[in-house]
């Protein structure tokens, strides 16, 4: 069964550095998402992406964040200048259709980002 993959599984970075988290969504999916989960807290929506543009973003997704689909398979999340509070597990997800039509999201295993 096809799966969403994410790399790296764990990223350690210094505060102020840029990081890029990578995701390969399921190949026939059209909608892509990033979520984060700070340790001990709930999963929080960051951004959704469809047709090569952001369709929705949360308050968390400020100017420090950007997403890109650089080619036909990868979907990346860039954090320009990391802060300590960016330390979290970041999940990528994809779906065939939009959820309002009942389409499930398929999640990757996550990237644990640690900002020192």
């Amino acid at each position: 069964e096809p799966e969403v993959t994410q790399t790296p599984s764990h990223q350690v970075t210094q505060m102020g550095q840029e990081v890029i988290l990578r995701c390969v969504p399921i190949s026939n999916h059209l909608y892509f998402y990033w979520y984060r989960q700070i340790l001990g807290q709930k999963v929080e929506f960051l951004v959704s992406f469809y047709n090569n543009e952001i369709s929705e973003k949360s308050e968390i997704f400020d100017d420090q964040f950007s997403v890109e689909r650089p080619d036909g398979s990868n979907f990346t999340l860039k954090i320009r200048s990391t802060k300590l509070e960016d330390s979290a597990m970041y999940f990528c997800a994809s779906s065939e259709l939009t959820g309002i039509r009942g389409s499930a999201q398929y999640f990757g295993p996550g990237t644990r980002l640690t900002v020192l």
Partner: protein, 108 residues
């Protein structure tokens, strides 16, 4: 504001006993409703969705529009049901708002 409430952070249930994980939502319009589950050391995965009216691993969820609830139920808990469960409504925008989750612990 869109809000999802899962009132129990932790629910401990004996094996074989019934399970009910509560979820209430406060949304404008008619969201589509999902339950996601995360087993230990595994990724988040869809458990069930309201639109399919399905029963997965013995779990069902009934939408009560009057109470704006979508509680997850199973008549007889099994040890492998121990996991984190997230209620997740999806409105007309392209995002899911997850509840805080309920950790279900099945006691032997």
């Amino acid at each position: 504001a869109q809000r999802v409430t899962q009132p129990e952070k932790l629910l401990s249930v004996f094996k074989g006993a019934p399970v009910e994980l509560k979820c209430n939502y406060s949304y404008s319009g008619s969201p589509e409703l999902f339950w996601y589950v995360q087993y230990s050391r595994q990724r988040l995965q869809l458990l069930l969705r309201h639109i399919s009216r399905e029963s997965i691993k013995g779990f069902t969820a009934d939408l009560n529009k009057g109470e704006t609830s979508f509680h997850l139920k199973k008549p007889f808990a099994q040890e492998e049901d121990s996991a984190m469960y997230y209620c997740a409504p999806w409105n007309r925008d392209d995002k899911i708002i997850f509840g805080k989750g309920t950790r279900l612990h099945i006691l032997p």
